[in-house]
Amino acid sequence: MSKYIDKSLNEIHEALVKGEIKPVDLVNECLDRINKNNLNAFITMNDKVIEEAKELEKMEVPKDDLFFGIPIAIKDNIMVNGMLCTCASKILSNFEAIYDAGVIDLVKEHHMLIIGKTNMDEFAMGSTSETSYYGTPINPWNKERVPGGSSGGSAVSVAGRLVPLALGSDTGGSIRQPSSFNGIVGMKPSYGRVSRYGLVAFASSLDQIGPMTRNVLENANLLNVICGKDDRDMTSVETNEDFTRLIGKPLKDFKVAIPNYFLSDFVDSEVRNKVLEIKEMLEKNNVKVDMVDINHIDMAVILYQIIAMGEASSNLARFDGIRYGYSYPDPENLEDLYLKTRQYGFGNEVKRRIMVGSYILSGENAKIYYSKAMQIRDDLQKSFKKIFSEYNLIIGPSAARCAYPLNSGKDDPLHCFMDDILVMHANMGGFPCISIPIGFNSEKLPIGLQILGNNFDEATIYQLASFIEKELNLDLEGGKVSE
């Protein structure tokens, strides 16, 4: 079978335009790899995808649409009409979406082909995808290691080269950390850049959908087509720009900050050294790189626990067994229905977070914790904004260490939060932030660099990301599955 799927998006598009291949060929290549290599990346396959691909043959391939006929994987917390949307939870295991999310409207408008819905942590709560009701997806770089999370299935499907594109969601690092663990490029756009309509809410003020791809250019291109104002999401904003426009432009008078906190002792030394190598490389290229201190930077995990848990406890209240989803079949009364549906329908991590969140919003606690956290969150955003008034971007490691062994956080609920200690600032401030691969550790596991920009400054992030990508020229096919 021809391996068109491994070619760049531009090359695939050209082949489609010339008629060398048809969309269905690409779909078959993807399905072939998925079937031969069980990475448990998908919860539900799209059983109509071949049909949909053949349907596209009736159309002329539009020359200006890079995404026509390209297969894509969608995280299973995003609604695709007619497909199950489980959020990797028992409570939604039988839930079929009856409408398309805002991003899915755009995916379909550009005639991308949805291969399936990807595995994840239950309701996106976790950093390893181990809380999934459907088992953990496999990290194609090392089967003994976690794939990261919560968008683990999406990351794995791109790293394994099962699909060229995927969508994830990021509430506290859920796109960037698995991208880092899997050697791919993952962007959490600015809050409001992509419509959240049809994304099952975890923490409404932090959630954002973003693109997960093999390289920076394709990432920027995918963001170009999934962003925009959606009248069904009041927090979404209009976008009138091309995110690829600065890619390849020289880094003139460029200033980058590295917070000292991002290279603290809790960061693995191999990871830290790799980031310092990047620092050196940038300096050689006349980029000014300063180590800085940022007020409140150490508060992010605490803020996340309060804000995300509080909002989650409310967002997940609708799963009560009354209108849809799992419903305990034989309740004694209404209260029993609520209790047993949620007791058996949710997994432990989700229940833990709902309980913490309910406690945080309870009575006086709402003032002591939630309101206070919102104030500090404001301050945190301001102190980052101050850095952005002097520096183009902030960089640091995406994760404190590379993918760690499976089951290592089982008895330590705080473990996974501490692991996301570096990625939550972007969500708190609504900032855009990308993770790109910058090399490997001694165990051949990918290391990720995160690049954080000011609100709505994705274009500058892509400029630096693509520069680093080109300078490093890494071989990232180590996760690719066999055929």
């Binding site: 999310a101 409404s204 009248d231 009041m234 409310s314």
Partner: protein, 471 residues
């Protein structure tokens, strides 16, 4: 006479008259088949988000204006979290921290003529829950009501008698109705009144008891009296009032306990993250309140000045359609106009089950009609003859009269000719008049109308007749 002083506070929920629901594009109306005005947002489907219907804010601003409330310039919505089957999201979107209106009042006039200012603590916007219908074995949910926009208006505990409470609600209803904010139909649930009543012999308030489910404004008065008496009996027999929620039973005219108030009810309020903060400036308030029509009290004044009797004034105010219609005709004789609208025209409309705008009685025709009746150019008798034509034909009054051969002669010379002929014919009556019987003129006028079949302008005919008689 009881030694106890009542303290009464009232909470009113009103459905706002918007076309669509507060957070979804589904229609917001009453009487549709169950679960037909529903979309994924109303069902609380995962992934859905609320989109604020700005018409809700605009109507609420109108309510703020007529209730003299201060408008919160920066407001947001909050989530009130609790579990109940009629609450699809597991939380209600309401305003806990920044109600759109605060510290307002309305003034009522009591039977004894004294005025009382009723203070309103706050007014906030919220969404309605869905409607549960409880059967023997199961309960059914109708989501048509889920997401219907409401305002909740909360008074200070400032009323002392059931009369004040009834007057407050009557006035409140009138204001909201005239501001176009709500239909205020208690029987359809678009206005719901809950009372909080406590009694005390001292300055310190007693324990308050809430009563819900009161089906009419007059029953609010009944419920308050019942509740005060019930509490007094308990206290007098050495008992204690427990804080509870009761419902009014309109068959026994009493209140029945629903549930004891839970201590420390914890709704885990926090700001709704899916709806951005809303900034309301003066211009926005003005733009959305400057089309308010005149409120009832101002209209009452106009009617009084125009000489309409008090009974008719209240009849007109009670029928907003008529009152609104009259607003277009404030420069003509309002007594004549209102008599028509409350009398013959009202009967016609009732009989034919139409509204005035669906008839052929255009504004200019109505104005013409009132003016002619006012100047006696048309007699009441002729008006009754042409009423159906006025309502059902696209013809002017003159055309109708001439078609029916009822054209009034208003040429003075022509009238003079006709009248002198009639005077000749009835010379005995003329002689009676001339010999001092002034009342004979009335009889002569009657003969003129009879002989001409009312075809002369009555006013002119009378004028000409008097001239001729007194020559």
């Amino acid at each position: 006479m009881s030694n106890y002083k009542k303290t009464i506070g009232i909470e009113v929920h009103c459905e706002l008259k918007t076309n669509n629901k507060i957070f979804s594009p589904a229609l917001s109306n009453y009487g549709s088949m169950a679960n037909t005005n529903v979309n994924v947002i109303d069902l609380g489907y995962p992934g859905t988000l609320p989109v604020l219907n700005m018409d809700v804010v605009k109507l609420a601003l109108k309510a703020c204006k007529v209730l003299n409330l201060n408008v919160s310039r920066k407001m947001h919505f909050d989530r009130k979290n609790y579990f109940y089957p009629d609450l699809p999201k597991g939380f209600q979107i309401t305003q806990a921290l920044t109600p759109i209106g605060t510290h307002g009042y309305i003034e009522v006039t009591k039977k004894d003529g004294t005025k009382k200012r009723i203070d309103i603590l706050e007014m906030h916007i919220e969404e309605d829950t869905c409607k549960s219908v409880h059967g023997e074995k199961n309960s059914l949910l109708d989501f048509n009501r889920a997401g219907v926009p409401l305002i909740e208006i909360v008074t200070e505990p400032c009323m002392e008698t059931s009369e004040e409470a009834v007057l407050y609600l009557t006035k409140l209803r009138e204001l909201l109705l005239y501001a176009g904010v709500s239909d205020c139909k208690i029987e359809e649930g678009s206005m719901r009144c809950d009372t909080n009543v406590s009694i005390s012999k001292t300055e310190e308030w007693g324990t308050k008891v809430e009563t819900k489910n009161i089906g009419s404004i007059s029953n609010v008065g009944v419920a308050i009296e019942y509740e005060a008496k019930r509490q007094e009996e308990i206290l007098e027999s050495g008992g204690k009032i427990i804080p509870e929620t009761r419902r009014f039973d309109d068959k026994s005219l009493s209140t029945i306990s629903m549930r004891v108030k839970e201590v420390g009810n914890d709704y885990r309020y926090f700001p709704e993250p899916d709806i951005p903060y809303l900034n309301i400036d003066d211009k926005f308030i003005d733009d959305n309140t400057n089309d308010l029509v005149r409120m009832p009290d101002e209209r009452r004044e106009s009617y009084k000045e125009a000489g309409i009797n008090p009974i008719n004034i209240e009849k007109i105010i009670a029928n907003k359609d008529i009152s609104d219609y009259l607003e277009k005709f404030l420069d003509i004789n309002l007594v004549v106009a209102s008599n028509l609208l409350l009398g013959d025209i009202a009967s016609y409309l009732n009989k034919n089950d139409v509204t005035i705008d669906k008839t052929h009685l255009t504004d200019s025709k109505f104005r013409d009609l009132v003016n002619r009746l006012d100047k006696n150019e048309i007699s009441n008798k002729i008006f009754k003859e042409i009423l159906v034509d006025l309502m059902e034909n696209d013809l002017s009054i003159d055309e109708i009269l001439s078609n029916k051969g009822l054209n009034l002669v208003s040429d003075k010379e022509e009238i003079k000719k006709t009248v002198s002929e009639i005077l000749d014919k009835y010379s005995d009556l003329v002689n009676q008049y001339k010999s001092g019987n002034e009342r004979a003129s009335k009889a002569i006028m009657g003969m003129i109308m009879k002989e001409t079949r009312g075809s002369l302008s009555p006013a002119l005919a009378n004028e000409v007749m008097m001239e001729l008689l007194n020559e």
